[in-house]
Symmetry: C2
Subunit: 496 residues, 2 copies
Amino acid sequence: MNEVEQTFKDLMKEIKGYAEALSLIHWDLRTKIPKKAMEQRSDVIGLLSERIHQLQTSDQMKHCIDQLKGKTADPILIKAVEECEDTYNKSSKIPVEEYKAFVTLCSKSETVWQQAREEDDFALLQPYLEEIVDFNKKFATYWGYKEQKYDGLLDQYESGLTTEVLDQVFAKVKKALTELVSQIANSEVEIDVESLLHHFPKQSQEAFSLAILDKMGYDFDAGRLDETIHPFAIGINPNDVRVTTRYDEGDFRMAVFGTIHEGGHALYEQNIDQDLAQTVLARGTSMGIHESQSLFWENFIGRSKGFWQNHFNLFREKAPAAFQSIDFETFYQAINEVKPSFIRIEADELTYSLHIIIRYELEKALIDGDLAVKDLPEAWNDKMEEYLGIRPTSNKQGILQDIHWSAGDFGYFPTYALGYMYAAQLNAKLTEAIDVDGIIQSGDFEPIKAWLTEHVHRHGKMKKPLEIIKDVTGEGLNPDHLIAYLTKKYQEIYQL
Amino acid sequence: MNEVEQTFKDLMKEIKGYAEALSLIHWDLRTKIPKKAMEQRSDVIGLLSERIHQLQTSDQMKHCIDQLKGKTADPILIKAVEECEDTYNKSSKIPVEEYKAFVTLCSKSETVWQQAREEDDFALLQPYLEEIVDFNKKFATYWGYKEQKYDGLLDQYESGLTTEVLDQVFAKVKKALTELVSQIANSEVEIDVESLLHHFPKQSQEAFSLAILDKMGYDFDAGRLDETIHPFAIGINPNDVRVTTRYDEGDFRMAVFGTIHEGGHALYEQNIDQDLAQTVLARGTSMGIHESQSLFWENFIGRSKGFWQNHFNLFREKAPAAFQSIDFETFYQAINEVKPSFIRIEADELTYSLHIIIRYELEKALIDGDLAVKDLPEAWNDKMEEYLGIRPTSNKQGILQDIHWSAGDFGYFPTYALGYMYAAQLNAKLTEAIDVDGIIQSGDFEPIKAWLTEHVHRHGKMKKPLEIIKDVTGEGLNPDHLIAYLTKKYQEIYQL
């Protein structure tokens, strides 16, 4: 190996090292950190982010890229150089001081968001969000875009995706979903959700969540489960991928499906090829593909009939006495109830995408300057009423529920809906390739995990999102699979 | 403020930032990290340590020191420049690559120590310890020393202390302690420790530990309590000082006195002046003074009659039924039993210093080349037999019990015994200044915490260890107070 290759590898390792420290800080910030420590920790986040940014945009990095581009035969290095070049181009367009200020702002804003949410007080957060929106507008301009400013942000999370494509696909999904929701509203099937709402002690929920993660093939020697307000999974490195969840003792579904969801993200990060570990490619390839993994496990597996036929005994074992009399059909229907609701992360798989479409429309309007931050709570509530037929009576139920914007992420939300579409496309192919029902019923998920690892996980960032979808399914982004899956499932449940 | 002062402050803030990330990683490494993540995390520790070392020894740092030394009027900056100059001189004597290799080695060695300890296999650890001893020999030479090589290491932990002083003081302490131990062995007082050894569930111990920490004035908004194998306290920053403890369900003393001990360390770090927060002075001034705080709380307060008279109801509230019949005198005597034992952190306050003297003699011999690492287990066991009259039958009970040497720390152990002497000196003064017995009995420890904060905590590294002792007591290091305290206490308990 020549000298430049070694320099480039060392540089990546250094970037990865700081990123690992930063990831641990983020995990701690959302799970363990004492209250008074948050402010100073923000400065540390700013410092480490600035250091990473310095290295990503250093003359040394530029030199490595120039020397290696088109001149190395190592397939991993080829992709790593591409990735670093992309980051270099994007990052070097933002002045260091501006980027540092943004990261520090976001870190403080996350803390303020927690307080604003607790106190149901949007005014606390508003000045932070205004600054964050302004930063994002500037970033979109720095990065450049072809047609719409919002495209510049979208591309950060889902490389190659445009507002034009999204407008079309979302229109199709929106039409199909609103039709289904309306048919369901008129269905005579009564779903007994009350049966699920008995008190379920936190400790038992935790034991149940741990058992399910174990069944999914999550490696506890390379991760752990903790409690948080807003659940997430985080890959600190492929041997340290942590899951968090939230326990609602009045509704165990929050923790169980939340854990399965985050477990899906975690399986992705845990099963990236070890060969990529010391490179910038050891991450999920995009937010959309990442979300396809969490949603695949949460819904296509976790809300399927077969999964619960197999795990109903486990459920009964962990659940208190009040749950022992529920029959299986009631249980299965109850975990698949469709009902417009305020909180995105509690939404059913049918109405979920409508929550995303609302956020997409609002953030596009903020970036385009068609909407002011101060008018956001009202605009949010209006759209909730228009698309879902319900109007939040507090900002806690509305605009303050998600951390994303407070954390600086604009252009991120659409990837959740993309995740649904990708998951449905992968699921269609998976059911052709292997006997999914048989596997689900047997309770040995190894073949599913193996298929996903083979086709998705192991590649990390060696493949672009649409490359993965194309290689597995032979087609591009296609919402028809999701629509077909939801239609079939809910026609059966609601006897439409 | 002039430009150099600002540059210097920014540089300190940067160093503090990386140190904060590093401290969090260390906390995680000993409490939460998944098994498989440890190896890669060692590299991150190496990277961050190297970065701090670079900054501490940078041309920019040298420039700031040269420009500010003797030229700034700000008392904090004066001390901070002194501290940075001392670090610069010490650090710049070790080549960067060598220092990095040492830090990475120690991090790996800590992990190996855990395994070696679990498997009671010294051979696993031996090659790591050999390398660590060699590094320490080199470091002592780099740093320089007047008479004995070991002084070069000792000075890192307790500025100004020498082997010559230590040999004298330890001889005096050793003589007094062995005499007391021998008198106690012949005492007819029977102490009923069995009464304390009922099953005490972990959760109840945790609740009890939390309640005691709270009583001590530990601020839970600026810290937290977690479980670990080898308890420690860590100041990530003054607003994030974490305590860890270990629960033995067969002997609650481990957790309770361990928590009080670490809580004493934590109070020190939590109560350093906020004015020092962004400087290199926001730390305990030395290991010895740090230990004086933990030992003061653990023994002078935590094993006193008054403390337990006040907290006996709290104990009964948290303890299971089997403990409810113990009478107070039995309890008080049992928590003060003197009995030679294998494990340092389980030793009583009387025999404890003998454990330290053993370690001191062994590490001095290793550094002087009078003892080989391979002969360490045997030498350890010989000394245990000679000073304490008991011989370990496994290395887990002997050489493998402490993490310190595996973590690279040589010259550290003596500070534990210094801590005892300092604590006794401070205690003598404190009892003159305020009505300690009255305070202990009332259960409101605020005046004690306030006195310690005023005279010790708030100063951070603004004062050197012996400066603190001198300012409070008017004298230097003096073992007589410790000997007097122990003699009086144990003459009473054992009716000597």
